[in-house]
């Protein structure tokens, strides 16, 4: 059933002329048609991240997905972002600076991230600390696959973000085989740099209500190939 409504221009003030009916539109969403006020509040809440090209039903649906369920999502994101369990995974020199980040001066435990898990099943943040050689790349991919959703990856140092100091046959930049959220430059990055990168990731997780990786990387409709399948 189509809803006939004039497209509401963004920024328009509510006129208070609603009907107070609840209608179901073609996509099955329950929309409260009387309240252009609510719609606008949603668009205002979205602020600068709202796409300018959408209006009418599309904007409504977008707002519904993004904003109307925001409180619970935000609480969950807040919890997730403040309790990353990094995977204890150090490859080379950057691992030494990762230790120093966990050490007494830089103290990653202030933020709650000191629980470095040994098993990828229990971790949700993989910090690739060091150079990724071609022998190691499939193993890292396997570790990343073994981690459970939601999961994030930080590429620490120049060697895994780009090729770093060694632009040669033996290395693979991490972007080639796994999605990376934050790249931290440096060779090796100081503990302060790594901390800045982790806090940036925390902010990313808090702001973005969709924590699933398929939505993040535009990979909807893809299928995971599992061994033995």
């Amino acid at each position: 059933m189509e809803i006939k409504r004039e497209p509401v221009p963004r920024g328009a003030r509510p006129t208070g002329q609603g009907q107070g009916e609840v209608e179901i539109d073609s996509s099955g969403l329950r929309v409260n048609t009387h309240d252009s006020k609510e719609l606008l509040r949603g668009a205002e809440l979205l602020g600068p991240t709202a796409p300018a090209s959408m209006d009418g039903e599309e904007l409504e649906r977008y707002v519904h997905e993004r904003v109307l369920t925001t409180t619970l999502e935000k609480a969950v994101s807040w919890g997730r972002s403040n309790s990353f369990f990094p995977l204890a995974f150090g490859l080379a020199c950057c691992a030494m600076e990762q230790f120093q980040t966990a050490g007494p001066r830089m103290d990653i435990a202030r933020f709650g991230f000191e629980a470095f898990r040994a098993s990828p099943r229990q971790a949700d943040l993989i910090i690739l600390a060091g150079r990724v050689s071609i022998k190691m790349a499939p193993i890292i991919r396997r570790l990343y696959d073994q981690m459970l959703e939601p999961k994030w990856a930080i590429s620490m140092g120049a060697c895994c973000s780009s090729m770093g100091v060694f632009n040669n046959y033996a290395l693979v930049p991490a972007d080639k085989f796994m999605p990376i959220d934050v790249h931290v430059p440096g060779c090796p990055p100081r503990p302060e740099s790594l901390m800045h990168g982790i806090l940036k990731l925390r902010k990313m997780v808090q702001d973005d209500p969709d924590a699933g990786w398929r939505e993040r990387y535009g990979a909807q409709g893809t299928e995971e190939i599992l061994p033995g399948a």
Binding site: A92, G103, K135, F166
Partner: protein, 418 residues
């Protein structure tokens, strides 16, 4: 996977033949059955990405096969592509805990080929930084080994001390790790005002801290029982395996290149070489902790006797001129330009330059063909050779002893894989 079978190599076919199906128990006594366990590259107790294929009979280790190459970086190949002094940062990143030692071996080899004299002040500064790096390396070793044995708090104490050392490195060169402070002919820059005082503060504090670690670990029954008497290996076997460094000294052979073939003014200093008796894990542990005290002594003596003079050779064909000269002197400008763009040329020849790193004999082989880029750089890394001793040490012992032995072996995978 839809790759045609004939395209797969034997190796890949073997990999894909591993299934996760249930293995039939043969019904006999399971203590006699051999189980091959893969201590994969990602493991909290292997120091870095070392893979061990361990065959167990019950809990007893019957054979160990290390598989390495997971952090192979092609450092030697990359160094061939760069000018001599531009290869210093590349070579430094090999054994990533003892970065000054890597650069010392390489720079020493190039200096021998060039026959350039390193000023005394530069030699003393090199010794100070090398010994500070030795202490830093032993601190990480102690922290991670204690972590493997279960003593988590020692890790944090050692990192606290290491922060002091990294502050000193940052003061002298600007970077905490991989500082490219050693250059061909000397050191990059003279030490700033306040460095000597800050280092003396450190050397005053360090022995007391090392005493604290000893007090925690040496009185701990668990540590003693895990380390005493486990996996001993005699000096003869170690020598035939090419093992040097604290492992050989723990077995009783006092071979140390700083005393036997002194380089960079080490013969000016008075220090002892800690030597063990039995060659078990406890001796390896005790030798390294004792080396921390000796290194502190060397640093103190070097600071006392630090001579005045240039910090790098005055030969402008090899070392960059000081920046204030660039404004006034044409020759300095030309030298600077030639050195930065092309680099200096080294007369053809080959040299093998060994030094004593925290893990053993670290040597650099440089072959030059007369151009401005090295024709071959090979680092003889001590961990690469010491790893061969692991199977001799740990076969026949329990798997927990194997973990402790691996910790005491102090392998650094960056050096092993290069």
């Amino acid at each position: 996977m839809t790759v045609a079978d004939q395209q797969l190599s034997e190796y890949r076919r073997r990999e894909q033949s591993i299934t996760l199906s249930q293995v039939e128990q043969s019904g006999e006594d399971t203590h006699e059955e051999l189980l091959t366990l893969n201590f994969g590259p990602h493991h909290p107790a292997t120091h870095g990405v070392l893979r061990l294929l361990v065959t167990l009979q019950g809990e007893v280790v019957r054979s160990i096969k290390p598989v390495i190459g997971y952090v192979h970086t092609g450092i030697e190949k990359t160094a061939e592509d760069k000018a001599y002094w531009k290869a210093i940062p590349v070579v430094e990143r090999m054994d990533y805990l003892s970065y000054y030692f890597n650069s010392m071996a390489y720079v020493g080899a190039v200096e021998t080929l060039l026959e350039v004299e390193v000023p005394k002040r530069a030699q003393y500064l090199r010794v100070i930084h090398l010994e500070l790096n030795r202490i830093a390396s032993h601190l990480i070793w102690l922290g991670t080994s204690a972590l493997d044995l279960g003593a988590v708090s020692i890790f944090l104490y050692c990192l606290r001390e290491r922060e002091l050392i990294l502050d000193l490195f940052e003061m002298s060169s600007g970077a905490r790790m991989h500082t490219r402070y050693f250059q061909v002919g000397g050191v990059m820059e003279d030490i700033p005002v306040g460095f000597v005082e800050k280092t003396r503060e450190f050397t005053k504090v360090m022995p007391a801290r090392a005493d604290q670690y000893g007090a925690i670990l040496n009185a701990n029954q668990i540590v003693l029982q895990r380390l005493r008497g486990t996996c001993p290996l005699d000096a003869e076997t170690l020598l035939s395996l090419g093992v040097t460094g604290p492992l050989l000294r723990a077995a009783g052979n006092p071979w140390d290149l700083r005393k036997a073939a002194p380089y960079s003014s080490y013969d000016d200093f008075d220090f002892k070489i800690p030597v063990g008796t039995v060659g078990d894990n406890y001796d390896r542990f005790a030798v390294r902790v004792a080396e921390i005290y000796e290194s502190v002594k060397i640093i103190d003596q070097a600071l006392d006797g630090l001579p005045e003079g240039p910090h790098i050779t005055t030969d402008r064909k090899i070392a960059l001129p000081p920046r204030h000269e660039l404004a006034t002197s044409m020759e300095a400008l030309i030298h600077h330009f030639k050195l930065v763009t092309e680099g200096f040329r080294v007369p053809p020849g080959e040299i093998y330059y060994p030094i004593e790193s925290p893990r053993g004999e670290l040597a650099c082989f440089v072959r030059s063909d007369g151009s401005s880029k090295p024709a071959r750089v090979h680092m003889r890394d001590p961990s690469f050779v010491n790893l061969q001793a692991l199977s001799h040490m740990a076969e026949g012992s329990y798997i927990a002893d194997m973990i402790a032995t691996l910790a005491m072996l102090d392998p650094i995978l960056g050096g092993i894989d290069r």
